[in-house]
């Protein structure tokens, strides 16, 4: 039983990081119908911004994180939206999908060429210890990852539901034309969605890199899991992406521990196919809103 609890807890912790990537993914999808195939690389890159600041510029840890956050907002938010997505709107379609794939190659190869191909240790301000919860051993870092991700997604939900800007962002995503008529600055709201995505990706990067090390190829599996989490939970619901991420994380861990190690990667895919065929709007999504 304590092993079960432990497997679930560490699954939740990994899942919460998937959830951050999935929420950003869903936001960008809603705001600009952009299926971002570079989402995994968006989570991989910010850790390297921090490493550049810390190791190349010799900055302290907190300044490195701040620099990475700003660089992510500028490059993954502003530049990605302005240089790649914006010129291809309103009807990006397949060329936009291809462009984001090329962005993913670009980011991966740039990191490999300019920083290095080896996995890099990544600093964490948190202590290394573990905690006992009901017989299960969980590292402080895992627990912090889970709580911090939940807090961020919770805060984001509050922002989207309770503030004027948040509601304008939702309106702009659901029905740009009507929102425009009602006086919402749709272009600005779309930009906000890209900025929030960049911030979430940077945050996920800071959380995931101390445990899994920073490596140029980290995004490959993460991106796919983020899609799956977003679809399983429901593309048009932020909470859906959160639940999807946690679910995928926990199920992945359970399958690896109790069923099969070789086919652990197959489980999210089977889940994905089942959800798409039987409940295409996702577990928490509703059929209204944007049809896909």
């Amino acid at each position: 039983m304590s092993q079960f609890l432990q497997v679930v807890l560490s699954g939740l912790s990994t899942g919460s990081i998937y959830a951050l990537a999935a929420v950003g993914f869903a936001l960008v999808w809603q705001a600009a119908q952009t299926v971002n195939f570079a989402q995994g690389e968006f989570v991989m890159l910010p850790a390297f911004f921090a490493l550049v600041a810390i190791h190349w510029f010799g900055w302290p840890l907190w300044a490195g994180f701040a620099f990475a956050m700003l660089a992510s907002l500028a490059i993954l938010g502003l530049a990605f939206k302005g240089l790649v997505v914006q010129p291809m709107m309103p009807d990006g379609g397949l060329p936009l999908v291809i462009a984001t794939m090329a962005v993913s190659i670009l980011l991966k190869e740039s990191v490999k060429t300019f920083y290095g191909a080896e996995a890099q240790p990544f600093p964490s301000p948190l202590p290394d210890g573990t905690l006992q919860i009901g017989g299960a051993v969980i590292s402080i870092r895992d627990l912090f990852d889970l709580l911090a991700s939940l807090a961020v997604v919770g805060g984001l939900t509050l922002f989207l539901d309770r503030t004027r800007t948040g509601r304008q962002m939702q309106a702009a995503a659901q029905s740009p034309a009507v929102a425009e008529i009602l006086g919402v600055d749709v272009a600005r709201m779309t930009l906000y969605a890209f900025l929030v995505n960049a911030a979430l990706a940077a945050f996920a990067s800071f959380l995931v890199s101390p445990t899994y090390l920073a490596k140029f190829s980290n995004g490959e599996s993460l991106g796919l899991v983020a899609f799956i989490a977003a679809i399983v939970g429901g593309f048009n619901r932020i909470r859906g992406a959160l639940v999807g991420g946690l679910l995928v994380g926990v199920l992945d861990n359970l399958v690896a521990t109790y069923v099969t190690q070789e086919y652990r990667a197959a489980l999210p895919l089977v889940l994905l196919i089942a959800v798409i065929l039987w409940r295409p709007q996702g577990l928490l999504g509703d059929a209204e809103g944007r049809t896909v």
Binding site: V84, M101, I273, I276
Partner: protein, 323 residues
């Protein structure tokens, strides 16, 4: 359109002649690249049928290449001739395409992309884990080259001509399909699905057929890849490879018959041309981004715009010269 047909035939004949003499005197790596280009052209043309004509995104083309390659490899390693093994692989892809397409084509757009992506990953896992059948991550090696009667395609140049012949036949078959009533139905579907349906087309059956035929072409490409490389392993058929085939179709020009050939040339040959520099994949990615942002109709689109401009300026010059 009919007045242009002789021109198209002449272009095809010239192209074929060029391809016949191109590898003579070149090293075996160059010939390998040409074979690889032809193989990817077949795969991309098949995907173009699903994507460019029937308008459905599939990210599973590499897994169909895998089905074709593993089938051909396993059967020829058991002593079957290529001419018997390859059709089995192609047919298997057609059937798998039907089986996957039947439930998957209920959903559309990006959802279909993800279902096919998931299928590709599942195929990869099976290929890697089922050692008894696929050799696991070590793959299958010493795959024999085809032998037809007394003629063997063992040598690199002989194998190239064999690949060229198979590709020419495949492209001819595809040309026939595109111009058949089915092919016109595929196009009608892409342009306006509701209208196609109201005109009495069974859209679901047509899409399924396009998907299965496209998959079968993927299988044929795989059946060439197995004896070409003589060694196959799961990574050659991973999702990344499917994205590569997709890239060929879109970069070449979506829904354009010859687009995939151009796109495949770009994807296979350009990295080779840039290999000398350390930054070749970065340059390559930047090029693709720029192409998609500035000219989403791909290389064929650029060519057509250029030709149209040329014709226009010529016409303008002609009218100016008249009075």
């Amino acid at each position: 359109m009919s007045s242009r047909r002789p021109l198209a035939l002449i272009v095809a004949a010239v192209l074929l002649a060029v391809l016949l003499i191109l590898p003579v005197g070149h090293g075996s790596y160059f010939i390998y690249l040409l074979c690889s280009w032809l193989m990817f052209t077949i795969a991309a043309m098949g995907l173009n049928l699903t994507l460019g004509y029937a308008g459905r995104i599939s990210l599973a083309q590499a897994s169909f290449m895998g089905v074709g390659a593993y089938t051909t490899a396993i059967l020829t390693l058991h002593g079957w001739p290529w001419l018997a093994a390859a059709p089995v692989g192609v047919l298997l892809c057609f059937v798998v395409g039907l089986l996957l397409g039947f439930p998957a084509l209920r959903v559309r757009g990006h959802f279909l992309a993800f279902v096919t992506l998931a299928f590709n990953t599942l195929f990869f896992l099976v290929a890697r884990n089922e050692d008894w059948l696929t050799g696991g991550s070590y793959g299958l090696s010493d795959i024999p080259r085809p032998r037809i009667g007394p003629i063997s395609a063992d040598g690199q140049l002989a194998f190239y001509y064999f690949t060229l012949a198979v590709s020419a036949l495949a492209i001819l078959a595809l040309w026939g399909i595109v111009r058949s009533p089915w092919g016109r139905a595929f196009k009608a579907l892409r342009e306006n699905e509701v209208r196609a349906e109201s005109l009495g087309l069974d859209t679901r059956r047509i899409t399924l057929l396009a998907f299965a035929i496209g998959s079968a072409f993927g299988g044929l490409a795989g059946a060439i890849e197995a004896p070409l490389v003589q060694y196959i392993e799961p990574n050659s058929f991973a999702v990344g490879e499917s994205l590569k085939v997709l890239l060929m179709v879109v970069v070449g020009g979506l829904g354009d018959f010859w687009g995939p050939a151009l796109g495949a040339a770009m994807v296979v040959l350009l990295p080779e041309a840039l290999r000398g520099t350390r930054y070749y994949l970065i340059v390559y990615a930047l090029f693709v981004i720029a192409l998609m942002v500035l000219k989403p109709t791909g290389l064929m689109g650029i060519g057509k715009t250029f030709l149209a401009r040329l014709a226009k300026s010529r016409a303008a010059a002609a009218t100016e010269a008249k009075p």
